[in-house]
C-alpha cells in the first residue's frame, strides 16, 4: 500500500494518547504501554504471570536470603529487601544508573506534594540502605507477601530531575522533563527513546544506543493514537499502521469480525486477563438485601450464551473475582449456571410472586424493578446490559438501564453509592491481588470516612475481613491457597457482586510480527519489545 | 443627431402576457404607438393598467414570467422583438435608456454614484476608467448636481431624493440615447422637487433631442411634459392624441372621467365625480369593452363586442362604441 513503511519501522495503533509521560505520577494504560518501550519498572509480572526482575539483577526472596524478616524501629513486623541495579544499566545520555537515582526516586515518591498517585508503595519503605553504586536495601514497615513487588516503581534520573524537584517539589509534576522536554534521551533507559511527540497524534521512538540488553529488531517505532476504532481499522487496512495494540485496541466483537474478514492477512490474538467485568449489587437496597433475589438474578442470566454469541467464547465467564488463570483460583464451590426455573422459584420464595404484565410484584404491590447503571459510551457494556435486561425480563425482573458519563459514574455514582441497585463496570487487578479495598468492611465508602474505599456493595462479613487480613500477611504461597479458597467460597455464597466476564484484549498483528506476548494484566507487552521481530 | 419628429421607435400591436399557474394571462393587448425624436409621448393610466410592463418590453426587460405574445417593436428599423440578448444589450443604456420611479431602490447601494454613471460609458463607449469617470462627472454637472466632482464619490444613501433622481437621469443620458423611457420619474418626489426634475428633463430633451416615453398617472405632470398622450386602461390604449386634444378634447368616457376626478387647484367643485368599481385584473377582463362595467354611457353591445378604433383626427384616436368619428 501507498503508506507502507520500511521494514525496520513498526507502526502501532492505540486508542488513547498518553496525557503525560512521567512514569510514577498518575498511571494510565496508554502511558504504561508507551513507556514500556523506553523505561522499565524495577519488577514486573511476565506473560506467565510470574514476578521477574527488570531493572534489577535478582528478585529478592526469603529463600535466596535477599529478603530478611526484621522488626521496625517501632517494633512492628517488617521486612528488608535488597536489590542490585544491573551493572551495565545506563541512561540514554550515557550516564550510569546508580543508587542515587533510586534514592531520588523514593524521595519523589514519598513526597506528599510530588503528585504520586499511589503513595503507599513508597511510604512502606521507611529506610533505604545504600551499599554501593548499584546495591541497595529497602526496609519495609509491614510484612506482606508482595514484599518484593515493585512493579509500580520506575527509577528516575537523579542527574536530570533532582534540580527541578528540589527547586519546588509542589511544581515538580508540572515541570518534570518527562513532559517539558520529553525527547531528552537522558530520561530513558529502555531499548528505545522518544524522539518526537505530537500530542493527540503520535509518538516516534528510536533505538536507545545505551540499551544494555538484547538489541531490538526495529529501528523506529511509531505509536499512533486513533480513538475511533472504526478509523483504526481503516488505518490498519490502508497500511497507515501495522498493528493494533491489544492493551488499547479494538473491542472484542470488532476483533472477531475483523478476523473473519482479514484473518488471512493478520493474526488476531485474544488474551483474556485480569479485567474483571461485574455488577456491584447495592446490598442496602431492600430488594437486593435478600440473598434469594441475588441468587435468582445470577440464575436468571445466561452468561455462557452471552459469552458464546456476543464474544465467540473469547471472553470467559467469571465465577468469582479471581481469574481462572490466576494461581489462587480454586474450583468454585457454587457455579451459577443459567437456570430460569430455579430463579423463578427463588423469587417466588422471596415474595415476588405476583405477575403483572410480566413483571413480578410482591404482596405490597411493589414491583421488582432494579436500575442497572453503567458508563455511557461503552458499546459492549450497553449490549450486555440490554441482553441482561431482556433475559431478566423473562423471569419477571424489570431492569431499567441508566448510563452516565464515566467521570460521573466513577466520580460519584459508585463512590457515593448513588446507584440504587446495580452498577456494572470492571476492576483491573494484578495477579494474586488481595481484594481488601473492594471486600473489606472497613472499605465501605461513607461520608464519615470521606467516601474512601471501594466496597461499593457494602458487604460486611467479619469472617471475610479476617481472611483478607490473614492472606495478606501470609508469606508462604502454598499456605495462602486454602485462605484464597475460603474467600472465594464466601464470595460465591454471598454474591455481593454478580461476576460476568474476564475481559479479553484483542491484538491484531501482521503475520510477520513475531515475539509479541500479550500478558493479560497491567504490565504491558511492550516491556519485552526486544523480543519482537519481523519474520518473513 | 437625427432631426426632430423623425419616428424612431414604432410599436405595433404589442401583446404581452404573464405565465401563471392558470396559463398565459395577457396583460397588454395590441398596444401601438410611435416615438419621435425630440418629442415626448406620455403614457397615462391607473395603477396596474400595464404602463411599466409596456416600458420594460421595449427593452426586453420583462420580469421572469413575462412573455411578448405578439406584435413588433421597431427601433430605427431594427426589430427588437426577435433580436438576441446580446443585440438588445448593445442597445440598452446606449440607444434606449430608462429611469425608474423609486430612485433609492433603483440605485445600487454599494457603488458610488460616479461609478454607476460611468458604467454605461464603460460598457458602451469602451472608455478607460478615468475617462469614463470624468465624463460621468460632466454628466452629473449637466443634471445640476452642485459640486459634482465631490458628489460623484458619494453613495446613493448620502443624497436626497431629488438628487438621486438626477443621478438616475444622468445615468440614463450618459450615452446620449435616442430614447429615454421615464417610468413615473417624479412620483416619489415632492412637488417643488418634481418641478425641478421636470424642468431638467425639458432642458435635456432640448439639448440632446431625445425622444421620451414619459409614464405617469398624474395628468398634471403629463400636461407639463407631453407632446402626445396615450391613455391606457386595462392593458389597452383606449385613447391617444396630441396633448391638447386629450387634455381639452378627450372623448373616451374613461379619459373624461379620469380628468374630471382629478382634483385641481384652478377649479372648485363641491363633490368630485367618482368612477365606480375598479379596474378589472388581468385574466378577469370582461367581454366586449373593458371599461363597460364602469362606464356611465355603456349600452348593451358594449358588453358584447370589442369596441372599434375611431379616428377623430390624424392624431386623435380612440376605441369606443359610443363615440363616432365626426
Amino acid at each position: 500500500q501507498a503508506y507502507a513503511q520500511d521494514p525496520k519501522t513498526l507502526q502501532i495503533g492505540i486508542t488513547q494518547y498518553p496525557a503525560n509521560l512521567h512514569p510514577n505520577i498518575e498511571s494510565m494504560v496508554a502511558k504504561s504501554y508507551t513507556l514500556g518501550f523506553v523505561q522499565r519498572p524495577i519488577t514486573a509480572f511476565d506473560a506467565a504471570w510470574k514476578l521477574v526482575c527488570l531493572e534489577c539483577e535478582t528478585l529478592p526472596t526469603i529463600e535466596n536470603g535477599m529478603a530478611i524478616l526484621e522488626k521496625t524501629p517501632e517494633g512492628a513486623d517488617g521486612i528488608a529487601v535488597t536489590f542490585s541495579i544491573p551493572k551495565d544499566a545506563f541512561w540514554g545520555d550515557g550516564t550510569p544508573i546508580t543508587t542515587s537515582d533510586v534514592e531520588f526516586t523514593f524521595e519523589v515518591g514519598k513526597h506528599p506534594l510530588s503528585g504520586t498517585t499511589a503513595i503507599e508503595t513508597y511510604r512502606r519503605i521507611y529506610r533505604i540502605d545504600v551499599h554501593d553504586d548499584k546495591r541497595f536495601t529497602l526496609h519495609q514497615d509491614r510484612r506482606t507477601f508482595n514484599y518484593n513487588q515493585f512493579n509500580a516503581v520506575t527509577i528516575l534520573p537523579d542527574h536530570l530531575e533532582r534540580p527541578i524537584f528540589e527547586k519546588q517539589p509542589a511544581e515538580y509534576k508540572n515541570r518534570t522533563l518527562y513532559d517539558s522536554d520529553s525527547t531528552n534521551p537522558g530520561l530513558y533507559s529502555g531499548p528505545y527513546r522518544i524522539v518526537e511527540a505530537v500530542r493527540g497524534s503520535f509518538i516516534l521512538l528510536e533505538r536507545n544506543v545505551y540499551w544494555r540488553g538484547k538489541k531490538p529488531y526495529f529501528d523506529k517505532i511509531i505509536i499512533r493514537s486513533i480513538e475511533n476504532t472504526s478509523a483504526m481499522e481503516a488505518n490498519l487496512l490502508s497500511g497507515n499502521i501495522d498493528m493494533i495494540a491489544g492493551e488499547l485496541g479494538l473491542q472484542l466483537d470488532q476483533g472477531i469480525a475483523f478476523e473473519k474478514r482479514h484473518g488471512d492477512r493478520f493474526n488476531v490474538i485474544y488474551k483474556s486477563g485480569l479485567h474483571y467485568e461485574h455488577i456491584d449489587l447495592n446490598l442496602q437496597n431492600p430488594i437486593l438485601a435478600d440473598l434469594r433475589v441475588r441468587q435468582a438474578l445470577l440464575y436468571g442470566i445466561d452468561r455462557a450464551t452471552i459469552s458464546d454469541q456476543l464474544f465467540h467464547g473469547r471472553q470467559p465467564v467469571a465465577n468469582s473475582m479471581i481469574s481462572p488463570h490466576d494461581r489462587t483460583y480454586t474450583k468454585q464451590p457454587i457455579i451459577y449456571a443459567y437456570n430460569p426455573e430455579k430463579a423463578a422459584s427463588l423469587l417466588d420464595e422471596a415474595g415476588w410472586s405476583i405477575l403483572r404484565k410480566g413483571i413480578r410484584h410482591n404482596d405490597q404491590g411493589q414491583s421488582l424493578r432494579l436500575e442497572l447503571m453503567s458508563t455511557a459510551g461503552d458499546k459492549t457494556r450497553e449490549l450486555v446490559q440490554q441482553v441482561l435486561q431482556s433475559q431478566l425480563r423473562q423471569i419477571g425482573v424489570d431492569i431499567r438501564i441508566k448510563n452516565e458519563a464515566p467521570r460521573v459514574f466513577f466520580g460519584q455514582t459508585t463512590r457515593e453509592r448513588k446507584f440504587t441497585a446495580m452498577a456494572m463496570y470492571a476492576w483491573v487487578s494484578s495477579p494474586e491481588l488481595v481484594p481488601r479495598t473492594t471486600l473489606h468492611s472497613t472499605q465501605i465508602p461513607v461520608p464519615e470516612n470521606n467516601f474512601s474505599g471501594q466496597n461499593y456493595s457494602t458487604i460486611s462479613i467479619p469472617e471475610l475481613d479476617n481472611l483478607i487480613d490473614q492472606v495478606e500477611s501470609e508469606l508462604d504461597p502454598d499456605k495462602r491457597l486454602p485462605l484464597w479458597e475460603k474467600i472465594q467460597q464466601i464470595y460465591t455464597r454471598e454474591i455481593p457482586v454478580i461476576p460476568l466476564f474476564f475481559r479479553a484484549n484483542t491484538y491484531i498483528l501482521p503475520k510477520w510480527l513475531h515475539g509479541l506476548e500479550p500478558t493479560g494484566h497491567l504490565d504491558p507487552s511492550t516491556l519485552w519489545v526486544e523480543n519482537w521481530s519481523r519474520v518473513q | 443627431m437625427s432631426s426632430v419628429d423623425e419616428t424612431i421607435l414604432s410599436v405595433s400591436n404589442l401583446s404581452i402576457g404573464f405565465e401563471t399557474d392558470e396559463g398565459l394571462i395577457p396583460v397588454i393587448e395590441e398596444v401601438s404607438f410611435d416615438l419621435h425624436t425630440g418629442r415626448t409621448l406620455a403614457l397615462v393610466g391607473e395603477s396596474g393598467c400595464g404602463k411599466s410592463v409596456t416600458a420594460f418590453a421595449l427593452l426586453k426587460l420583462l420580469p421572469p414570467f413575462g412573455r411578448i405574445i405578439s406584435g413588433s417593436i421597431k427601433f430605427r428599423g431594427q426589430e427588437l422583438v426577435d433580436s438576441t440578448e446580446s443585440e438588445i444589450q448593445a442597445i440598452r443604456g446606449d440607444r434606449i435608456s430608462m429611469i425608474f420611479q423609486e430612485p433609492m431602490s433603483a440605485l445600487n447601494p454599494v457603488f458610488t454614484i460616479g461609478s454607476q454613471v460611468a458604467e454605461s460609458l464603460l460598457l458602451h463607449r469602451h472608455l478607460d476608467k478615468k475617462m469614463a469617470w470624468q465624463q460621468a462627472v460632466e454628466m452629473l454637472v449637466a443634471v445640476g448636481i452642485p459640486d459634482a466632482a465631490q458628489r460623484a464619490k458619494n453613495y446613493p444613501h448620502q443624497l436626497s431624493g431629488g438628487m438621486r433622481q438626477r443621478v438616475m437621469i444622468a445615468m440614463a443620458l450618459s450615452c446620449e440615447p435616442d430614447i429615454l423611457i421615464a417610468d413615473e420619474p417624479t412620483t416619489a418626489l415632492d412637488v417643488t422637487i418634481q418641478a425641478q426634475i421636470l424642468d431638467l428633463m425639458h432642458d435635456l430633451q432640448e439639448r440632446f433631442g431625445t425622444a421620451i416615453l414619459f409614464i405617469s398617472h398624474d395628468f398634471g405632470v403629463v400636461s407639463r411634459m407631453a407632446d402626445y398622450i396615450a391613455v391606457m386602461y386595462a392593458g389597452k390604449i383606449i385613447e391617444r392624441g396630441d396633448a391638447g386634444e386629450i387634455l381639452t378634447g378627450a372623448r373616451h368616457p374613461y379619459t373624461c372621467a379620469l380628468l374630471a376626478t382629478t382634483p385641481r387647484i384652478d377649479a372648485s367643485v363641491t363633490r368630485l365625480p367618482a368612477i365606480s368599481g375598479r379596474v378589472p385584473a388581468p385574466g378577469q377582463r370582461p367581454a366586449g369593452c373593458y371599461f363597460q362595467p364602469r362606464c356611465p354611457n355603456a349600452s348593451d353591445h358594449c358588453g358584447e363586442q370589442r369596441p372599434p378604433p375611431v379616428d377623430l383626427s390624424v392624431t386623435h384616436q380612440l376605441i369606443c362604441h359610443e363615440v363616432v368619428s365626426e
Binding site: 472504526s230 469480525a257 452471552i306 455511557a376 459510551g377 449490549l383 440490554q386 433475559q391 458519563a405 | -
Partner: protein, 267 residues
Amino acid sequence: MVMLAPAIEKLLGLNANMVDLFNRMQPASDTHVFGTDELGRDVLLRLLYGGQVSLFTGLTAACVAATIGTVIGLTAGYFGGRLDAILMRITDGVISLPLLPLLIVLAALDLEKIGLPDELVNSEEVSFYRIVIIVALVGWTTVARLVRGATLSIKEREFIMAAEGVGAGHLHIMFNHILPNLISTIIVAVTLSVGNVILLESVLSFLGLGIQPPMPSWGNMLTNAQALIWEAPQLAFYPGMLIFITVICFNFLGDGLQDALDPRAEY
C-alpha cells in the same frame, strides 16, 4: 408510517426489544425485512420505534425551544431599549456557553432531589424529557434572534400603531398582532431545527445523555452502528437515510406551511 409501529410489530409477530443472540446482524430476510442488529433485534421495527422516539423528541424539543425563544425574542424586540439589551446579552451568553460541561451537569442532576415525582424519575421516558429540556435550554437562541429581528420590523408596521390607537395594551399587541405575523418565521425555524435535534440526540447518546437503551432512536442507532460500520454498514445506512429524508421533508413541510399559513401567498 412510524405511528403504525405497534401494528407492524403485531403483524410480523416480532418484538422490537426482543434480544436474539443467535441471530445477530442477519442480512435482510423474510422474517426480518431489513435484517437484524447486533443483538438480533429486528431492524425495521427498531427503525419504526426509533422514528417515533426521534420524531417526537425532535418535534417536542424544537417546539419547546421555539416557545421559549419566541417569548424572549418577542419581549426583547417589542419593548426594546434596556430590556432588549439585557435579553440579547443573555442570549449571546447562552450561545457561547460551552455545551459539554452544561450537558454533563444537566445529565447528572438528581431529578428526585429537585422534587420531581418518583413515578416520572423512574419512568422509561425520563431520558426523553431530559433531552427535550437540554435542547430547549440551549436551542432557543436562534429562534429568539429571528423572532426579535422580525418583531423589530413588524412593530414598525402601521397596523401595530393602529391597534395602539384603539387602546390595545402591550400584551394584546404582542400576542394578537405581532405573534400571528411571526408564525412563518417560527415555523421555518422549528422545521429546520427538528433535523438538528435528531442529530444532536445522537451526540447526546454518545455522551450517555441521550435516549437510554433499549429504547431505540435514530440517533442512538446511528451511534451504535458507528463501531459496526465494517461488519454491518447497513445498520448505519438505514437510520442515516431516514434522518436525511426527515430533514428534507421538514424543510419542504416548512416551506409548504409557510405558504399555507400566509394569507398573502395566494395573492
